[in-house]
C-alpha cells in the first residue's frame, strides 16, 4: 500500500491555538513526545467466588518517545490490562503510570487505544466514526472535521468508503478506519492491542507494512501489543517481554534492525540472531512450547 504524504498538508490551517502543543497535522512527524512510564504497577480483579485474581505484579517499563515499543507475552498474561491502565480506563492497585511526567488519571485523546476487536460504532458511517473525536471535544467545526476525516480516509486507502457502515468493510479496512479514527485526534501515543489478530495472513502482512510506513513517516510513539514473534521483531525498536501468572515484565530487548523496515528486513542475519535470542526468552517463560 502506498503512502501519499501530499494528502495531509491541507490540514495545517485547521489547528487552533489550543492545539499548538501538539502537531498541526495528524500525520506530521511528531516532536518527541508521549513518553510513557510504568512504575511498579500491580492490578488485581475481584472475583465472585474466589480470592481476587492477581493480573499484574510490580510491572515497570517505559515507552520511549518516537519509538515503537512492542509488548509481547503469552495470552492471558495481562497485556490488555496494561493497555487499559495506560489508556486510563482502569486504575492500578499499586504503582504509577505517567505520560510525559503527568500522572494518568483518566482516558484522553492523547493516548489512543486500538482494540483487539473492532470498536468502530456500527451505527455510524465510517466518516462519522472518524469525525467523532474532534466533534465531541468541539475542537473542529463539522466542515473542518469532515475535511480532516476525508483526508485521512484518502491516506488510508478508504476513499469512497466514508459513507459505508463498518459492517460493509473488510477486516483490514476496518483496522485502517480505526487508525484514522485515532489519528485525527493527533494523539501523543498510539497503543495497539493485538490489532491485526483475526486478519488473514495476507492482510496481516499488508497491515504490518502499512503501520511500519505510517510510523516511519510520523515517528508517532507506539506501544504495540502482540503474541506473534515475527510481527514483534518486524515492527519493534524495542521488545518488552511479559511472563504470565501473574503478569510481570521479564525482559527488554533492543531490536537494532535498520530503518526503514521492509519485508527484506526479515531475511537478514541480524534478524535471525534477534529471533533466536527472543525465542530463548519465550521458551524460558513458557510463552511457547519446546517441542
Amino acid at each position: 500500500m502506498m503512502m501519499q504524504t501530499s494528502a495531509t498538508t491541507g490540514l495545517a490551517s485547521n489547528a487552533t491555538a489550543a492545539q499548538q502543543a501538539v502537531p498541526v497535522s495528524p500525520l506530521a512527524p511528531r516532536r518527541r513526545q508521549g513518553h510513557l512510564v510504568v512504575q511498579g504497577v500491580s492490578k488485581r480483579f475481584a472475583q465472585r467466588d474466589s480470592a481476587p485474581a492477581e493480573v499484574l505484579r510490580d510491572c515497570s517499563f517505559e515507552v520511549e518517545p518516537g519509538r515503537l515499543t512492542v509488548l509481547m507475552g503469552p495470552s492471558g498474561c495481562g497485556k490488555s490490562t496494561l493497555a487499559y491502565l495506560l489508556a486510563g480506563y482502569l486504575a492500578p492497585d499499586a504503582g504509577s503510570l505517567t505520560i510525559d511526567g503527568m500522572p494518568i488519571t483518566q482516558a484522553g485523546p492523547d493516548r489512543m487505544l486500538v482494540f483487539q476487536e473492532t470498536a468502530l460504532w456500527p451505527w455510524m458511517s465510517i466518516v462519522e466514526n472518524v469525525m467523532f473525536g474532534p466533534l465531541a471535544r468541539g475542537d473542529m467545526s463539522r466542515a473542518q472535521a469532515r475535511q480532516a476525516a476525508e483526508a485521512l480516509l484518502q491516506k488510508f486507502g478508504l476513499v469512497g468508503f466514508g459513507d459505508r457502515y463498518p459492517s460493509q468493510l473488510s477486516g483490514g479496512m476496518k483496522r485502517r478506519a480505526e487508525l484514522a479514527q485515532a489519528l485525527i485526534n493527533s494523539p501523543k501515543v498510539m497503543i495497539l492491542d493485538e490489532p491485526f489478530r483475526g486478519l488473514d495472513v495476507m492482510t496481516r502482512e499488508l497491515m504490518q507494512e502499512y503501520y511500519v510506513q505510517l510510523f516511519e513517516e510520523t515517528q508517532l510513539t507506539t506501544l504495540f501489543i502482540t503474541t506473534e514473534l515475527e510481527e514483534a521483531i518486524f515492527l519493534a525498536d524495542r521488545i518488552v517481554f511479559m511472563g504470565t501468572a501473574p503478569g510481570r515484565i521479564v525482559r527488554g530487548l533492543e531490536v537494532d534492525l535498520p530503518h526503514p523496515r521492509t519485508i527484506g528486513s526479515m531475511t537478514s542475519e541480524r534478524y535471525l540472531e534477534i529471533k533466536k535470542d527472543a525465542m530463548a526468552t519465550l521458551i524460558e517463560y513458557g510463552a511457547v512450547s519446546t517441542d
Binding site: Y89, A107, F115, W121, W123, M124, A136, R137, S167
Partner: protein, 273 residues
C-alpha cells in the same frame, strides 16, 4: 435455498425454470403462495366431504361469500378493526414509552435494579389475561381495562429486553467514546441509545405479537366491540362464518402490525443490513 438439504427438494431446486427461477424473476414467493392456495383448497375439501369435526365448520368459499355480501360494506365490521387497532396501538405505544426508559434506568443504575428487579420478576410470569378481573375492578371503563391489559402484555417484554440490551453494550464502545473526550450526555445519546436499538427491536417485535393475542382475548371477555368481540359473537349467535371472518381478520391485522413495526425498526437501524 435452505430447504435444499432434504433429498427430494434438491431436484426441484435444481430443475431449470422451477419456482426458484420464477421467484427470482417476479420477486414473489411462489412456494408460499402455492401453500396458501393448497391450504384453502384442503380446507374447502374437508368441509365438502364432511370430514371428522368439520360438520359445523364453514368452508372458505362460504365465508368469503358471506364476507363480500354482508361484511365488506358494513360499517360495524370496519369499526371492529378500528377498535382493536386503537387498543393495540394505545397499549403498545404506552408500553414502549414507559418500558424503554425503565429498561434503560434498570440497565444503568445498579441500585434501582436491585430495588425493582425482584418485583418485576414476580409480576412478569403472570399472564396478561390473568389481569382481566383486577383490571376491570380497577379501571372505570372496560375500554381502559383492555388497554391496560394490552399494555401489560408488551410492557414486561420491552423492559427486560432493553435492560439486557444495556447490560450487553460493548465496553470498548463506551471506552472509545471516553478516550475521544465525549461527556456522559453525549455517550448516552450517541453510544448507549443506538447500542440498545437492536434490543428494543426484539422487544417491539415480540411485543406487537403479544398485544394482539392479549387484545383479542380481552375483547372476548370484556369488550363491547373489536375483532375479538366479533369472533365471539359469531360463536354465541351460531353464525360460524362470522367466526371465520373474525379469525382471518385478526390474522391480517396481526400481520399488518408486525410488518409495520419491522418496517419502522428497519428505518431506525439502517446499519443492520
Amino acid at each position: 435455498m435452505a430447504d435444499a438439504t432434504a433429498g427430494q427438494t434438491v431436484t426441484a431446486c435444481n430443475a431449470p425454470g422451477g419456482f426458484s427461477r420464477l421467484a427470482r424473476l417476479t420477486g414473489v414467493n411462489w412456494r408460499g403462495a402455492l401453500a396458501v392456495v393448497a391450504f384453502v383448497l384442503g380446507w374447502e375439501l374437508l368441509v365438502r366431504f364432511k370430514a371428522l369435526g368439520f360438520a359445523a365448520v364453514p368452508g372458505p368459499l362460504e365465508s368469503l361469500t358471506a364476507f363480500w355480501a354482508t361484511y365488506a360494506s358494513k360499517a360495524s365490521y370496519w369499526e371492529s378493526w378500528f377498535a382493536s387497532f386503537r387498543r393495540v396501538v394505545a397499549g403498545f405505544v404506552l408500553a414502549q414509552l414507559l418500558g424503554i426508559p425503565l429498561g434503560l434506568f434498570l440497565g444503568t443504575r445498579e441500585r434501582l435494579r436491585e430495588l425493582m428487579f425482584p418485583v418485576l420478576e414476580l409480576m412478569r410470569p403472570i399472564p396478561p389475561i390473568a389481569w382481566v378481573p383486577l383490571s376491570i375492578l380497577f379501571w372505570p371503563t372496560h375500554e381502559l381495562s383492555i388497554i391496560f391489559i394490552t399494555f401489560i402484555g408488551a410492557f414486561f417484554i420491552i423492559v427486560i429486553n432493553v435492560h439486557d440490551g444495556v447490560r450487553t453494550i460493548k465496553q470498548e464502545h463506551l471506552w472509545l467514546a471516553r478516550s475521544l473526550g465525549a461527556g456522559e450526555a453525549m455517550i448516552f445519546r450517541r453510544i448507549v441509545l443506538p447500542s440498545v436499538l437492536p434490543a428494543i427491536s426484539v422487544g417491539m417485535t415480540l411485543g406487537i405479537a403479544v398485544t394482539w393475542n392479549v387484545v383479542i382475548a380481552a375483547e372476548m371477555i370484556a369488550g363491547d366491540n373489536g375483532l375479538g368481540r366479533l369472533t365471539w359473537e359469531g360463536y354465541v349467535s351460531h353464525t360460524s362464518t362470522v367466526v371465520i371472518i373474525g379469525m382471518v381478520s385478526i390474522g391480517f391485522a396481526g400481520y399488518l402490525s408486525s410488518a409495520l413495526v419491522s418496517w419502522l425498526l428497519h428505518k431506525l437501524t439502517p446499519w443492520r443490513a
